[in-house]
């Protein structure tokens, strides 16, 4: 697909704000998306993802802020003049047009000649593997096929930026995974800038170069999937991106850059957070997969240990999930299911251990 335009646009959002009545749908959002990046806006339902996307597309008038494409403001440009490819939630395919009709429509609007149009149509349909379905109507297609038509319609006029609003949320889980990989491959092939909106953290992690976590219209954290997963900056991010145990207790300085977290007669030392332990409502966040259950070989100063009792054991194929009752409440631990020599049963007394810098104290 060498003929396909391969230049992505640089998108910059500068202090975007938008309220609907008393709802602050977008609250001072600033974001730089370099050319060709695949960025996902990730947040729970109602966090303002669609509103941001529709503001970029030109359908939502902002209260404040500026949107720039390659350094030029798109302010005052109507949606049809912004030249962004948009994949709408639910796809919004034209029901009275065939697949070919849908994909060709943007080219017709641009007054492209018939031969050139036909060539571009075929190229685009091939790109998303829809060639054989060109004559079908949208209602004759499966969800995954409809998704590809929507994508083709957004790609066919070679926009510099593609905006996708929950493009895979209507599909079943297995298909979703396939299409995530497909979308990512397509992105790599085209070099177009992709701004994707999703509430599915797995989808965001699988596809994105960078993830922007949103809540209540605000950006909480931005970063690559790995960085975000390993170093969430708030409890919200830690909880939203994967699962996390939050251990709360009384904090006291322990010296050497450590603080002690105590609850009842149990205590352990953890690294002191950058902001100290003076203010804020801190909890120690530790991922379940970082915790070992009953591993007596993990000892020493660098480890945290808690005594507990197994409350439940769930075998889910690849993993075993333990819920362990401790002085800090129930702790979830995930162990790989293979080669686990331990036979831990419900009610058994055990210990949970983890490396102290595997987790961090986070503010609410």
């Amino acid at each position: 697909m060498s003929e396909f335009a391969a230049s992505g646009g640089a998108l910059r959002l500068e202090g975007l704000s938008k309220s609907f009545g008393h709802t602050r749908a977008i609250d001072d959002v600033t974001l730089d998306v370099p050319p060709g990046e695949f960025v996902s806006l990730l947040g729970p339902s109602g966090s303002g993802k669609s509103t941001i996307l529709m503001a970029i597309a030109g359908f939502v008038a902002l209260d404040r802020g500026e949107i720039l494409l390659d350094g030029k403001s798109v302010h005052g440009l109507t949606p049809e003049r912004r030249n962004f490819g948009v994949v709408f939630q639910g796809y919004a395919l034209f029901p009275h047009m065939t697949v070919a009709g849908n994909v060709e429509y943007p080219l017709k609007l641009r007054g492209m000649g018939k031969a050139a149009r036909q060539a571009q149509l075929e190229r685009t349909l091939d790109l998303v593997r829809l060639g054989p379905l060109a004559g079908r109507y949208p209602r004759e297609l499966s969800g995954g096929q409809q998704q590809r038509v929507a994508l083709a319609r957004a790609l066919v006029f070679e926009p510099k930026v593609i905006l996708l609003d929950e493009p895979l949320s209507a599909l079943d889980k297995k298909l979703r995974l396939d299409l995530q990989l497909e979308l990512k491959a397509l992105h790599e092939r085209l070099g177009t800038t992709f701004v994707n909106v999703t509430h599915d953290q797995e989808e965001a992690m699988n596809m994105s170069d960078r993830i922007v976590i949103l809540n209540e219209g605000r950006i909480l954290q931005t970063g690559g999937p790995e960085a975000l997963y390993n170093a969430p900056n708030t409890r919200f991010v830690a909880d939203f991106l994967g699962r996390t145990n939050f251990l709360e207790g009384d904090l006291s300085p322990a010296g050497n850059g450590l603080v002690t977290l105590r609850r009842g007669d149990e205590a352990f030392d953890v690294p002191e957070p950058d902001g100290g332990i003076g203010g804020g409502d801190l909890a120690y966040a530790i991922r379940p997969e970082r915790i070992s259950v009953g591993a007596s070989d993990l000892a020493g100063d660098d480890y945290c240990t808690l005594r507990g009792r197994i409350a439940s054991v769930v075998f889910n194929g690849a993993q075993i999930l333990y819920r362990v009752e401790t002085a800090f409440g129930e702790v979830l631990a995930v162990e790989p299911s293979y080669g686990a020599g331990k036979h831990l049963l419900v009610g058994e007394h055990t210990t949970v251990r983890w490396a102290r810098d595997a987790g961090a104290l986070l503010e609410r």
């Binding site: 948009v86 029901p95 006029f157």
Partner: protein
């Protein structure tokens, strides 16, 4: 399954049979010369009479014009209703509905008062110096069309409005996002998507239009005679019941044919993937 409940429907069924089907059957019988014998002479007479032929042609022509005008105006009103705020929508609905609740007779007379030579409209226009002789707005086809359109607009507005409320707003947004200016998106996407409803509303308005007789009688001033009025006169005044029966059958068969078309329209709707 719900056998006992059938009893509750019985009075209604009996009423319909007694007040509607019985007279209709009787008219149909008369039109075929029954009970004296069977003949098609009344139908032949219909086909043979140039007066009746031109009356039928006038009816179809006027109802068609009325339907088209009602559809265009109704589409605009419905579009406004579907895309305005809640308050304006309520207000607009009220404006459409209030005349709907008035009797046909009252409305026809009101139009007569407004549109006649010394009526409000002509007075205002002459008073403003826009015209020097009153316009002939009533007691002709124009008057009939105005009166019928006014009566029929709600029948166009409500099905269209209902269909428009189900149109996904993202369709027009999608059209705009790929480069369509608003009117292009309207023509290329919005209108085709609402086409089945336009078709359905058109058939509905047409059928109601065929059944009119009060409006043409009053606003046509006796000069514009349409099918239903003709039947009414045949039954009540000239007492040519067999002829009235034959005409009624023509009307009935056309309406059934149109209803069949509506049923097809619903298939058409599925065909286009809308609804």
């Amino acid at each position: 399954m719900n056998r006992p409940y059938y009893f509750f429907v019985l009075p209604a069924v009996a009423l319909v049979a007694l007040m509607f089907l019985l007279p209709l059957g009787w008219l149909a019988a008369l039109s075929f010369g029954l009970p004296e014998g069977f003949t098609l002479e009344h139908y032949e007479a219909l086909a043979g009479s140039s007066g009746i032929r031109s009356m039928l042609w006038n009816t179809v022509r006027l109802v068609t014009i009325t339907t088209l005008v009602s559809l265009v105006l109704g589409y605009l009103v419905a579009f406004a209703m579907a895309h305005l705020g809640e308050t304006q929508r309520m207000l607009l609905t009220l404006f459409v509905l209030v005349p709907f609740w008035l009797s046909v007779l009252a409305r026809a007379l009101a139009w007569l008062i407004l549109l006649r030579h010394n009526g409000l409209v002509n007075e205002a226009l002459t008073g403003a110096g826009l015209i020097d002789r009153p316009l002939q707005l009533v007691r002709n086809e124009l008057g009939v069309i105005i009166g019928m359109v006014h009566f029929l607009i709600p029948y166009a507005v409500f099905p269209l409005f209902a269909a428009m409320m189900t149109v996904d707003r993202r369709l027009v947004m999608a059209a705009r996002s790929v480069g369509a200016v608003p009117w292009r998106a309207f023509i290329d996407v919005y209108v085709p998507v609402t086409l089945p409803a336009i078709f359905g509303a058109g058939v509905l308005v047409f059928i109601f239009g065929l059944g009119f007789f009060v409006t043409p009688a009053i606003l046509g001033g006796g000069r514009v005679v349409m099918l239903s009025e003709y039947i009414s006169v045949s039954v009540l005044q000239t007492l040519r019941w067999a002829q009235a029966g034959a005409l009624s059958m023509v009307l009935l068969v056309s309406v059934i044919a149109l209803v069949w078309l509506v049923a097809r329209a619903i298939g058409f709707r599925r065909l286009t993937g809308v609804g």
